[in-house]
């Protein structure tokens, strides 16, 4: 059975959440998008996705959330074997240097996006991170190729031998 690779967006302000999801909608045909407005809800969604046997490829996470904050959520994911490989991106206007350093060091943060962002910047980052994820996890990259960085996917096929003449 084909496994789904999800994108998880965690943001407590509905308008901002909407605009993130709108900006990255071009990926939705291949990578279903899930939304959460608190860290607790995010964790519930993560559990459900993993229980289905699916994967989370990327999390776009706001820093300031009610109750547990975004950086702590990412650290928690980093410490869990099943979510360690998830590409983690922080989208925030408010995280201070200390919090950001903590996210880099302890959550293996892949990217930091400052609000407000430009659509192209966000799309490029998402494309790059998902391409990394697909190549690293060596899932069959072909079904995702059309929305990802095609040159890098083709290059990985050239090197990797995941797909061979049959």
């Amino acid at each position: 059975m084909k496994k789904n690779i999800y994108i998880l967006v965690v943001e407590d302000e509905p308008d901002v959440l909407d605009s993130i999801v709108r900006d990255i909608e071009e990926f939705e045909s291949r990578f279903p998008i899930e939304m959460a407005d608190t860290a607790e809800e995010a964790k519930e969604i993560i559990r459900d996705i993993l229980d289905e046997g699916d994967q989370i490829g990327l999390i776009l996470c706001d820093h300031v959330l009610p109750e547990q904050n975004g950086v702590d959520l990412l650290i928690e994911m980093q410490n869990d074997e099943r979510t360690r490989s998830v590409k983690k991106v922080l989208i925030t206007g408010q995280a201070g240097l200390e919090e950001t350093v903590k996210a880099v060091n302890e959550a293996d943060l892949e990217h930091y996006i400052a609000k407000p962002w430009k659509k192209k910047e966000l799309v490029d980052i998402v494309r790059n991170q998902l391409t990394d994820f697909v190549i690293e996890q060596s899932v069959n990259p072909l079904q995702y190729m059309s929305v990802l960085d095609q040159e890098r996917i083709a290059e990985s096929i050239r090197h990797g031998g995941d797909i061979t003449d049959v």
Binding site: M1, M145, A154, I157, G160, G161, D165, V166
Partner: protein, 467 residues
């Protein structure tokens, strides 16, 4: 978890396996019944991909050793001699893994993977593309010639992937509505499929067929194969080029190819270039010096590993499952032949009414149709034992006829390029999202039919005269 198709395949495969065990077919020996069990199981599993196709191949070898070999469960006891079947030694099934054609492929894999490692494939591409200038029509021809040439020696899929990295930046710079995007994106997989026919190591179906012919005492040298297949490759590359230009004529009048990177000059890299050149030279001149291509193939394996140009981690990354896949196909052929099953199947139909031409054409079309949906290697593995035994039983005349029908099966299998699932190169190309299935289906169908037609023509007007 199995999909519905896979589950259906599982039950059908098991049913197929049991059928010859409970039903007695007149005229077929016990060994023949057991071989039929294995054949039906393999055919269904290969078609439905219930398990990976290389696993089916491994399973075939295991079942043959257990059920058909002199050391297996059925024929090991002295008293159990059945009809005129003298049980095949289990080593015959196992040694398909070291068949000269497998070693030839191993050598090809090492050369190809080492070329990728040192970016030699990209360097060659850049050099070879230069003379084609910047006119889109000739750029497409250039892309096809280079792809075809490389895929004659490397895997069709790896060549396609490499060429896709070359054309993606070109396509990205073009106007969204320019049909040249389609012709370029189609030219790569088509040329890779066609290029694979040119040499014995071009693509696995060639291996299965060559091994089957060898077992009948019909040896084909590397250079002989090229004499048979290379002109066909060339004509079909040019035909496909013209077809793509007619269907999707470029609007832009200039294409710049901007490939970075230069020739690596480390000792390891230089050693690769020399080994590559020497090996290919020895292969294509086999008929002059007589050193078998399977022996020559050990040169790159030995030289590149002893010099550490090709390291342990590189060896581990070789596509070993493809060798298993080919070996399974070869050993299925042995079982069908030795147990008499192939002959029995051939004897079911009275072929006399059909002329050789009609028979060859039928084989070509059936191969083409099957391999559009199945793996090319699997198609060749299933059809070649039947084709060869028709030749042996005199339906095609002698060695000559055997070679003809062998070439028809091998080459027609590679002309399957209608659907994304037809071949991995097609799948890679369609996954870029630049082209749609309908683009591929139209051009692929025309190329496939013209290709098989040309194969038949060759078998009457060309091959007989160069033997």
């Amino acid at each position: 978890m199995l999909s519905k198709t896979q589950t259906a395949g599982l039950f059908l495969g098991i049913a197929g396996f049991i059928l010859p065990l409970v039903v007695t077919f007149p005229g077929l020996s016990l060994a023949g019944h057991l071989a039929m069990s294995i054949f039906l199981l393999a055919a269904v599993f290969w078609m439905f991909e219930t398990i990976p196709i290389y696993s089916t191949s491994i399973l075939v070898i295991l079942l043959e050793v257990l059920l058909l070999s002199a050391e297996g469960l059925v024929f090991s006891s002295e008293g159990f001699v059945s009809g005129d079947y003298s049980p095949t030694a289990y080593t015959a099934f196992l040694s398909t893994l070291a068949n000269p054609i497998i070693i030839l492929f191993l050598g090809g894999f090492v050369l190809a993977d080492a070329s990728v490692k040192y970016n030699f494939d990209k360097y060659l591409t850049r050099k070879l593309l230069t003379p084609f200038g910047s006119n889109p029509k000739f750029i497409i021809l250039g892309l096809m010639v280079v792809t075809g040439l490389l895929s004659a020696f490397m895997s069709n899929t790896a060549t396609t992937a490499m060429m896709i990295t070359v054309v993606i930046p070109i396509i990205a710079k073009m106007q969204p509505g320019d049909p040249a995007r389609i012709s370029i994106a189609l030219s790569i997989p088509f040329a890779a499929n066609i290029g694979g026919m040119a040499t014995p190591i071009g693509t696995p179906p060639n291996a299965v067929v060559i091994a089957a012919l060898n077992q009948q005492g019909q040896a084909i040298t590397f250079s002989e194969w090229m004499m048979y297949a290379f002109p066909l490759t060339l004509i079909m590359l040019i035909f496909s080029w013209i077809l793509l230009l007619k269907l999707y004529p470029p609007k832009t009048d200039r294409i710049e190819i901007d490939m970075k990177g230069k020739l690596m000059s480390t000792v390891s890299a230089r050693l690769l270039y020399v080994t590559f050149a020497v090996t290919v030279l020895l292969w294509v001149t086999e008929s002059y010096h007589g050193i078998k291509s399977g022996i020559v193939a050990l040169i790159p394996v030995a030289v590149l590993t002893l010099s550490n140009s090709f390291e342990k981690k590189d060896i581990r990354k070789l596509p070993w499952e493809v060798l298993w896949l080919i070996a399974g196909g070869i050993s299925l052929g042995i079982a069908l032949k030795d147990t008499g099953l192939a002959n029995w199947m051939v004897s079911l139909v009275s072929w006399d009414q059909l002329a050789s031409l009609a028979l060859l054409a039928t084989f070509g079309i059936v191969t083409l149709a099957m391999s559009n949906f199945l793996s090319n290697t699997v198609t060749a593995s299933l059809l070649i034992p039947i084709a060869i035994s028709m030749a042996v039983s005199g339906i095609f005349e002698g060695m000559f006829g055997m070679l003809m029908v062998g070439l028809v099966v091998a080459l027609s299998a590679s002309f399957a390029m209608v659907l994304p699932i037809s071949t991995p190169p097609n799948a890679v190309a369609i996954s870029t999202g630049v082209i749609e299935t309908k683009h591929m289906a139209l051009a692929g169908l025309v190329i496939g039919l013209v290709g098989v037609l040309l194969v038949i023509v060759f078998s009457f007007v060309y091959w007989p005269y160069i033997l």
